[in-house]
């Protein structure tokens, strides 16, 4: 910073010197003009630092990005600790030590950056957001929180005016003094213009109300939903500058339109805007709409959060049932898993001696005709499976090929949802569990029936353990490494204990770390046939990401060598296609 300060001061001095050279009476023609232009450019550069960095370092409020949904890490060799925290501009405040403010105003008008005083009087020189209670009477009520942003966008205009006036006096040019008066007029305007009131002084209600309507409150993933927001001025004054940024749920992304709007609202006026979001699986609550009111001068912006409860529910889709990678172990119920036991079925299994009571349709009449003996045909029995859909929803599973892409947990839950309904349709008994934050909370034992179906869809739609938004921190992050390993091992044993002994496991995991491999192998070893469905979240655009992809391939190879069936589900591949491909591999 010091180096840049020296640079700025140096260029300032050089600019002044060049100006003197360029404008001295003797110099005329090209040389003089060139010097003047060079001087102007150098001065502009110098002043630009002084004006914007040192002087008018206002509080420029910027709302968080609403459009693109939340971001998740892309798998790479060294997993990032945090993603998406754009580092602040750490290089501000050049010339701060010089205090141009002091030169122009005689004292530091910033009034301390702690900003503890009440700025509702509208001191345009302060900086930094000031949070204050909306209730101007000073009582602490639970009214809406108002943040005041002092933009400092007019800082220096009085200085410009005074400088012009002084130059006019020195040069004895009335026009310059009059020009200075324009600058001073603007400064006076900014000084007297009041910051807009954001709450009704009597009732404490916000002066604007926001209504939000969603054209379908419940729908399937991928459908477009139009959100219409109405902003109404409840006062009898004109609100000259109303800016609204709607709080789009983090997991949704805006596809058309903009969730932001600027308006001028007359008394009791209202304005409407709409945008479209693409629904994703889950239960999505809208954040409060952020409303910024600014006076006509724009020197002070007041930010208000208006909470409007809106929820969009989006259930995971269903799936065609034919191709499901169930393994050969069943329950006593009839179903679609082909077992090695003979009985009633379709495919021929064996013949055995006739026993009284065997159905007539299964008697082998050809043999009776040939040899005169009764025999009974046995067919391969098809039984219902008991299946546990285990979804890896640990923090490490929230990975996507691009930071704003569909992440592996989302894909896992979608696939689990389809599998769930498809298996129920074929009479299998299915349960759902999340391997992650709260395995006991999110545990639906295998069952059947309409109630069970509804419960399962509800759990997949809105259970917080399967949230489409990346959890704030890893469940085990607080523990030491060895303790963590113990707990993770214990979790596997716990899952095994809760699983019914005959249940097979469909384990949905991106396999981005070693833990899912351990889970799958152990559960397999405990006697639950495990099939891993692994949505691939890896990318190959950087060496670190290619390394992560290779590591994942290795893990999948390990699983396959250990006898666990793995469905490697590519990022661009429909689930059905991946299933069909896997089916071929497994039957072949």
């Amino acid at each position: 910073m010091r180096r840049r300060t020296v640079l700025a001061v140096g260029s300032l001095v050089a600019g002044v010197a060049l100006t003197v050279v360029g404008l001295r009476p003797g110099s005329t023609g090209a040389a003089g003009t060139a010097a003047a232009v060079a001087a102007a450019v150098v001065l502009v550069v110098a002043v630009s630092y002084a004006v914007d960095r040192g002087l008018a370092d206002g509080d420029h409020w910027q709302p968080a990005a609403q459009e693109s949904g939340h971001r998740v890490p892309v798998p790479q060799a060294e997993e990032p600790e945090e993603e998406g925290t754009a580092d602040d501009d750490g290089d501000r405040g050049l010339l701060r030590g010089l205090s141009w403010r002091w030169i122009l105003w005689g004292s530091d008008r910033r009034g301390g950056e702690s900003g503890g005083s009440d700025r509702s009087g509208g001191e345009p020189w302060g900086s930094g957001a000031v949070e204050e209670n909306a209730d101007d009477a000073g009582e602490s009520t639970d009214g809406p929180t108002v943040r005041t942003h002092v933009t400092n966008r007019w800082t220096g205009v009085a200085g410009v005016g005074l400088a012009l006036a002084v130059a006019g006096v020195v040069a004895r040019t009335p026009g310059l003094v009059l020009a200075g008066a324009v600058g001073v007029a603007f400064a006076g305007y900014v000084g007297v213009s009041e910051p807009p009131g954001v709450v009704d002084p009597e009732t404490g209600d916000p002066v604007v109300t926001v209504e939000r309507s969603v054209d379908a409150a419940s729908l399937d993933p991928g459908e477009a939903v139009t959100v219409t927001v109405t902003v109404r001025n409840t006062t009898d004054r004109v609100l000259s500058d109303v800016r609204v940024v709607d709080g789009v749920p983090p997991a949704l992304s805006v596809t058309t339109g903009s969730p932001r709007h600027g308006a001028v609202l007359g008394p009791a006026d209202e304005t409407e805007f709409s945008y479209t979001v693409t629904a994703r699986r889950g239960e999505h609550d809208w954040d409060p709409a952020e409303v910024v009111l600014a006076g006509p001068s724009g020197a002070v912006e007041r930010e208000l959060r208006v909470d409007v409860a809106t929820t969009l529910r989006c259930r995971p889709p269903a799936l065609d049932t034919d191709r499901l990678p169930l393994r050969g172990a069943g329950t006593q119920y009839a179903g679609q898993v082909e077992t090695d036991e003979g009985g009633a079925g379709i495919e021929f299994h064996s013949t055995r001696e006739y026993r009284p009571g065997d159905p007539l349709s299964r008697i082998d009449w050809y043999r009776r005709a040939e040899t005169g003996e009764f025999a009974t045909l046995a067919f391969r029995e098809e039984r219902a499976a008991k299946v546990m859909l285990l979804v890896d929803s640990r923090r490490a599973a929230y990975r996507a090929p691009t930071p704003d892409g569909t992440h592996a947990v989302q894909r896992s839950v979608d696939a689990a949802g389809r599998t769930f309904t498809a298996l129920l349709d074929t009479g299998d008994r299915v349960g759902i569990a999340a391997l992650g934050r709260a395995v006991d909370d999110c545990w639906l034992p295998p069952g059947a029936g309409d109630d069970h179906r509804a419960a399962g869809r509800e759990l997949l739609t809105s259970h917080p353990a399967l949230s489409p938004v990346l959890p704030a921190r890893d469940f085990y992050a607080a523990f030491r490494d060895d303790r963590r390993e113990t707990l993770e091992r214990r979790l596997i044993a716990h899952v095994h204990q809760r699983l019914s002994p005959t249940a097979q496991v469909l384990f949905f995991t991106p396999c981005c770390d070693d833990y899912p491999v351990t889970v799958a192998r152990r559960l397999d070893a405990y006697g639950h046939p495990v099939t891993v469905v692994s949505p691939d979240p890896t990318a190959a655009d950087t060496p670190a990401r290619r390394a992560a992809r290779a590591a994942r391939d290795d893990r999948i190879g390990d699983l396959r060598r250990a006898g666990v069936r793995v469905l490697d589900w590519g990022a661009d591949e429909p689930f059905d296609v991946a299933l069909a491909r896997a089916e071929e591999r497994w039957s072949g």
């Binding site: 404008l23 003089g32 003009t33 003047a36 232009v37 102007a40 001065l43 002043v47 630009s48 420029h60 409020w61 910027q62 709302p63 966008r153 410009v160 005074l162 400088a163 012009l164 006036a165 006019g168 004895r172 040019t173 009335p174 026009g175 310059l176 003094v177 009059l178 020009a179 200075g180 008066a181 324009v182 001073v184 007029a185 603007f186 006076g188 305007y189 000084g191 729908l219 991928g222 000259s240 500058d241 596809t255 932001r260 600027g262 805007f273 693409t278 001068s297 724009g298 889709p317 799936l319 065609d320 049932t321 569909t406 894909r411 979608d414 309904t421 498809a422 349709d425 661009d572 429909p574």
Partner: protein, 191 residues
């Protein structure tokens, strides 16, 4: 794989097995938030800055002011408050330079007024771009803002010029002193 719609009832098996797949694997292109300065204010700022520079009386000073106008334009288009502010200062510096030669007072006043309005519009466009973006409907707010600022500036300029013409004390310098004193007073009150 664009925004496919799940064309099946939630609990039924879909007739088209691939219909459901469009859902999970959709990679809908999400338009990124465009935080560039909003168009209306940018146009206003560039236009006013150019006018301000062209109104500057003498040729050498006009060059300086044009350089400033270019900076304002760059700031307004690319969203740099720094450049916009610096450009405004440069235009005003051009006006000051011109003030050391003889000219009608009106041109100084007009140039300064336009320069400050351009500065205001550029900053407003940048702010609106940061907060609401180019895709939001902001034109009406921008026009109202520009109109209010223009009114304030014009009234200020008219009052000052009117006073000057009314007092008509070119040789005594009384009007200048009165204006200057008034200006200082105003600023001190404002603080």
């Amino acid at each position: 794989m664009s925004d496919g719609t799940g064309d099946h009832a939630a609990d039924n098996v879909p007739t088209d097995p691939h219909a459901a797949d469009r859902v999970t694997d959709d990679t809908t292109e999400v338009p990124a938030f465009d935080s560039r300065p909003t168009r209306t204010s940018t146009v206003i700022a560039v236009g006013l800055a150019a006018t301000a520079a062209l109104v500057v009386p003498t040729a050498a000073a006009r060059l300086v002011a044009l350089a400033g106008a270019a900076f304002v334009a760059v700031g307004a288009v690319f969203g740099s408050r720094q450049a916009a502010s610096a450009g405004t200062v440069a235009i005003v510096a051009g006006v000051t330079l011109a003030g050391f030669g003889p000219s009608a007072p009106g041109r100084f006043v007009a140039s300064t007024l336009f320069a400050l309005l351009a500065w205001d519009a550029a900053q407003y466009g940048i702010t609106m771009g940061e907060q609401l973006g180019r895709d939001a409907a902001t034109a009406r707010s921008e026009l109202v803002h520009a109109a209010v600022s223009a009114t304030v500036g014009t009234v200020g300029a008219a009052v000052a010029t009117g006073t000057y013409l009314l007092v008509d004390a070119a040789d005594s310098g009384l009007a200048l002193v009165a204006l200057l004193a008034g200006a200082v007073l105003l600023v001190s009150v404002m603080r």
